[in-house]
Amino acid sequence: MLFASSIVRQLRKIAGRDAVLSAREDLMLYEYDGGVQRALPQAVVFPQTTEQVARIVKLAGKEGVPIVPRGAGTGLSGGAIARKGGIILGFSRMNKILEVDVGNQRAIVQPGVVNLDLSHAVAKHGLYFAPDPSSQKACTIGGNVAENSGGPHTLAYGVTVNHVTGLEVVLPDGRVVQFGGKPAESPGYDLTGFFVGSEGTLGIATAITVKLMRLPESVATLLAIFDSIDAAAQTVVALTSEGVTAAALELLDGWTLRTVEEAMHAGYPMDSGAVLLIELEGMREAVDDQKAAVIAVCNRLAREVRVAKDESERQRLWAGRKNAFGAVGRISPSYYVQDGVIPRTRVPDTLRRIEEIAKKYSLTIGNIFHAGDGNLHPLILFDSRDPAQMERTLAAGKEILAYCISVGGSITGEHGVGMEKSEILPLMFTPSDLDVMQRLHDVFNPACLLNPQKIFPMARSCRETNAAAHPAAGLAFTQGGPA
C-alpha cells in the first residue's frame, strides 16, 4: 500500500524533495535489515535536524501513521522493520559528531554516527567509545542506543547503557525533551537508563551524549586452543571464578572457527575443537601479571596458548571473530543467529544441550559467543527455499532459548526483542512484570505509533489502541504496485 500523496507532499515539505522515498521500488529496499524479518514501509524519510524529526513525528501522529527509526539496518531482531507499515525515519544523514569534550570524556553525537567512526574521530585524544558490536564499522550509535548493544568488550565495560549519560528525545507528540546530560548521575528518575534499549518504542533520540573511555596503556590478546569444546567451556568457568578479569573472553567452536578461518585467515588452527579469544587491558604491569595467570589457567586444559606478537596479529585474530557471522554466509545461504544468555557457570552443559538440539532437528549449529558473560550466539544454518527446514530452525532456536531461561538466563543479550522474540517475552516475565512495562510504554507512546508491535507479544501490544493505530484508519491509500 502506498501513501496518500498528501502525506508524501507534507514529508517533502518538511525534509526536502530528495529526502523522501515513496516509490514502491525504493521502499522495497527498506523491507529488510540484518535479520530475517521483512515488511514494507510506506515512506522513508531522511531528516537532517531534530526540528525536522519533531515535525515528522507530529505529522505521523496527526495522520495516525506508524514511525520506525532506522540506523544502518544491521540489527538482527527486526527492530528497524516497519511491521505495520508507515514511515521509516532513516538517520543516515544525521551523522554529525556535534561535540567532543576531551576534558570531561564526553561526546555528543547525532544518532546516525557510525560506531567506529566516533572511536576513530577521538583516537587522536587517546579516547574511544567502548561498546563494540561486531557490526561496529557499519552500525550507528542511534541503533546501539535503541538495542542497548553490547560486544566482546561488554565483559569489562558493560553495554551501551553504561556509556550513555544524556539524550535529546523527540516524543510521539512532537515535544523535544532532555534526559540526563554530561554528568554521570542526574537527579530524579534515570530516564536515560530507561530509554536505552527501548527499541524505538518510547521516543526518537536525536542527540546522544556518550562517555569516552581512555585507550588502555597496554593490551594483550591471547588465543587458547583446545581439543574439545568441553575443555574450552570448563576453562571459561575456571578463568572467571579465579578472579581474572578479562576485557573480552570469546569462544568459537570447532565448526565455526574452521568456517571463519577459511574466510578470514585469522590464524585459528583448523584442527582444534574450540578456541578462546582472550583480551586483557590496563596498565602494563597489571596486564603482564594477568597474562601469566590466564596462561596458567588455560594450560590446564588447552593444547596451546598463543599470545599475539603485534598489533597486526591482534587485528587478525579479532577480524576472525568480528566477521564470523558473515563468514558463515560463505557456506550457507541463510542462517539464524540466536542471542541467549546463561550464567557463565552453565556454559559447559548449555553447549552440550545445543549439540543435542542440533541432532534432534538434523541441523548444523555453530557456536560463537561472548563466553565471559554467558551471551550465546548459536548460528543455525538453513536453506530458506526449504520451508520444512526453516520451521525446524525456528523450533530449534526456541528450544535453545527455553533452555537458557530454565538455567536462569535470558532470551536476549544484546540483539533486542524486536519482532523476533516478542511472542516469547512472556516466558521471561510474569503478567504483573509485563503490565508494569506496558504502562511505562503507554506513558510515552500511548497511541502506539512509535515502532508498533515490537517487544510486546501481539496479544498485548497496544491492546486499546490497536484499532486506532491501524494504517487503514483515517488514511486514504493509492494502489500499490511497481511504478
Binding site: 522515498l21 532513516g90 557490526s135 557499519a138
Partner: protein, 436 residues
C-alpha cells in the same frame, strides 16, 4: 539473500545469458558491513545506492518483483565498481560478478535513450575496439587540445552552457607519440637478465599515457627484464565488461589471449590496475560463452601470467635505484589494485625503494570517483566522491600524490587542479623511473 516478504510469483526479469544467478547473490546475508565502505552510500545514504541494496535489487528482479526499468538501471549504473564492498564483505560475495551480470541484463533488456546508446556504441564498439580508429580520433583530440579552437571554446563559456566543462577538464592530454608505434618491438634487459615480460599498452594508455608506458619499459629494463609489446594486442575489455557489454569484452579477451600466446614470457604486465583486474578475470568472463571451450585452457594460462607491474617488481625484488629521491609523498590505492587484486604493499614497497617517505592519508583505499568512465557519466556524484578524497589528500600536506592506475591519475589531477593544490600526481612507476 533469499528471504523476501513475498514468494516469487513472477517469472524472472533476467534472460539466461549472463544471468546473475541465485548461487551468486544468495551468498549475501545482508549484514550491512559493506555500507560504510561504499562511496555512493556514504554520499547518498540510501539502501538503493549500497552494495547490499544493489544485490537485493538484483534478487528482486530475478524474482520478477522489480522490473528492469529506470530505477533499477539508475542504481546499478551508479555503482562505481570499486569493489570496496568485496574487501569489507565477510561472506565473500562476488559483488563484481553480480553487478557486471546485472549490467549485461540491462544491455539486453533495457532501451537507453538514443543519444546515450549511440555514444556508448561509438566509444565501446568503435574507439576502444579498433586501435586504428582510436589513433585517428586521438590525433583529432590532440589537434583540438593544442589549437586556438580549444582556447576559444573555453573562453566562450560554451562548455559550461552545455554542462561539458567537467568532461573537458577530465579529458586526458593526448600524448605526442602513441604506444602503438612500438608494437612488435623488443626492449633488451639491462644488467643481469632476470626474465622476459610482455607489456599491455592499454587503449587510453597508448594514446594518453605513452610517456608512462615508456617509463614502465625503462623501469622493467633496469630491473633486468626484457620487454616485448606483442603486436595485435588491444584494449583489455575492462570498460566493456563493467558496462555490461560482455560479448565485446569477450572478443577483446580472445584477441589478447591470441596476441600474447605468440610470445613466451614470464609475465604479462600492465601499469593500469583496471586492466590488470579485468585480465585476471578472463576465465570467469569466457566461462559464460559456449564457443570458448578451446579458449578456456589458454585463458587459464594467460591469467596465471597476468601481473600488475608493481606486483611483479615487488615479487622479483626491485633493484635499488641509483638516485634515490628525498621526497615525501602520499599514496592513493587504486580500487582495482587494492580491492580487486588485493595488492596494497607492493606499490608502497616500490615507493620506499625509490627513497620516498610515505605519509599515509586517511582512507587511502577509498575510491577517488574515477572508475573508468564514471567521472564522465556521473559527473556530479563523482565530483562529490572526489571532494571526500581530496579532503584526505590535502590533510597530508605533501606535494606529491602517487597512485598506480591511469584513470585515477586523471581524476586526481582534476581534483588537485580544482583545489589549486601545489601537488603533482604521478604513477608509482614514474617515481621509480626518476630514481633510476
Amino acid at each position: 539473500m533469499p528471504l523476501s516478504i513475498e514468494p516469487a510469483p513472477h517469472a524472472s526479469c533476467f534472460s539466461a545469458h549472463d544471468r546473475p544467478t541465485w548461487e551468486l547473490y544468495s551468498t549475501c546475508v545482508h549484514c550491512g558491513l559493506c555500507l560504510q565502505q561504499c562511496p555512493t552510500y556514504r554520499v547518498l545514504g540510501t539502501e538503493m545506492e549500497s552494495p547490499r541494496g544493489r544485490i537485493y535489487q538484483v534478487m528482486l528482479a530475478d524474482e520478477g518483483r522489480l522490473p528492469i526499468g529506470d530505477a533499477f538501471v539508475t542504481h546499478i549504473d551508479r555503482c562505481l565498481g570499486c569493489l570496496a564492498c568485496q574487501t569489507a564483505c565477510p561472506s565473500g560475495v562476488p559483488y563484481g560478478h553480480i553487478v557486471e551480470r546485472a549490467r549485461a541484463q540491462i544491455e539486453q533488456r533495457y532501451h537507453r535513450p538514443w543519444l546515450a546508446s549511440w555514444v556508448r556504441h561509438f566509444v565501446y564498439a568503435g574507439l576502444l575496439g579498433d586501435y586504428k580508429k582510436l589513433a585517428r580520433w586521438a590525433r583529432r583530440l590532440r589537434w583540438y587540445q593544442h589549437s586556438w579552437l580549444a582556447r576559444a571554446v573555453r573562453a566562450s563559456g560554451l562548455l559550461k552552457l552545455f554542462g561539458l566543462a567537467p568532461m573537458e577538464a577530465l579529458a586526458p592530454q593526448v600524448s605526442q607519440a602513441f604506444s602503438f608505434e612500438d608494437f612488435g618491438a623488443m626492449f633488451p634487459a639491462r644488467g643481469e637478465r632476470r626474465g622476459r615480460v610482455a607489456l599491455l599498452a592499454g587503449c587510453v594508455g597508448s594514446v594518453a599515457f605513452d610517456p608512462l608506458n615508456r617509463a614502465t619499459i625503462r623501469v622493467l629494463q633496469a630491473n633486468g627484464l626484457e620487454v616485448i609489446m606483442p603486436e595485435g594486442q588491444g584494449c583489455c575489455g575492462a570498460l566493456h565488461a563493467h558496462a555490461g557489454r560482455r560479448e565485446e569484452a569477450r572478443t577483446l579477451a580472445r584477441n589478447n589471449i591470441r596476441a600474447f600466446e605468440q610470445w613466451s614470457c614470464d609475465a604479462i604486465v600492465t601499469n593500469a590496475a583496471g586492466c590488470g583486474s579485468a585480465m585476471k578475470d578472463y576465465v570467469d568472463l569466457l566461462a559464460g560463452s559456449s564457443e570458448d571451450s578451446e579458449t578456456a585452457a589458454s585463458a587459464q594460462e594467460f591469467v596465471k601470467k597476468v601481473r600488475d607491474v608493481t606486483e611483479y617488481l615487488a615479487e622479483l625484488g626491485v633493484r635499488p635505484p641509483a638516485h634515490p629521491l628525498a621526497l615525501r609523498a602520499t599514496y592513493q590505492d587504486p580500487c582495482h589494485l587494492a580491492h580487486a587484486q588485493r595488492i596494497r604493499s607492493a606499490p608502497r614497497e616500490l615507493l620506499r625503494a625509490a627513497g620516498v617517505e610515505l605519509v599515509e592519508m586517511q582512507h587511502p583505499d577509498y575510491c577517488c570517483g574515477s572508475a573508468g568512465v564514471y567521472n564522465v557519466v556521473e559527473v556530479e556524484l563523482a565530483g562529490q566522491i572526489l571532494e571526500e578524497k581530496m579532503d584526505d589528500v590535502a590533510a597530508t600536506s605533501v606535494n606529491l600524490l602517487v597512485t598506480a592506475n591511469t584513470g585515477c591519475m586523471l581524476q586526481l589531477r582534476s581534483g588537485v587542479a580544482r583545489r589549486g593544490l601545489p601537488m603533482q600526481v604521478k604513477h608509482v612507476i614514474e617515481v621509480l623511473d626518476e630514481a633510476y
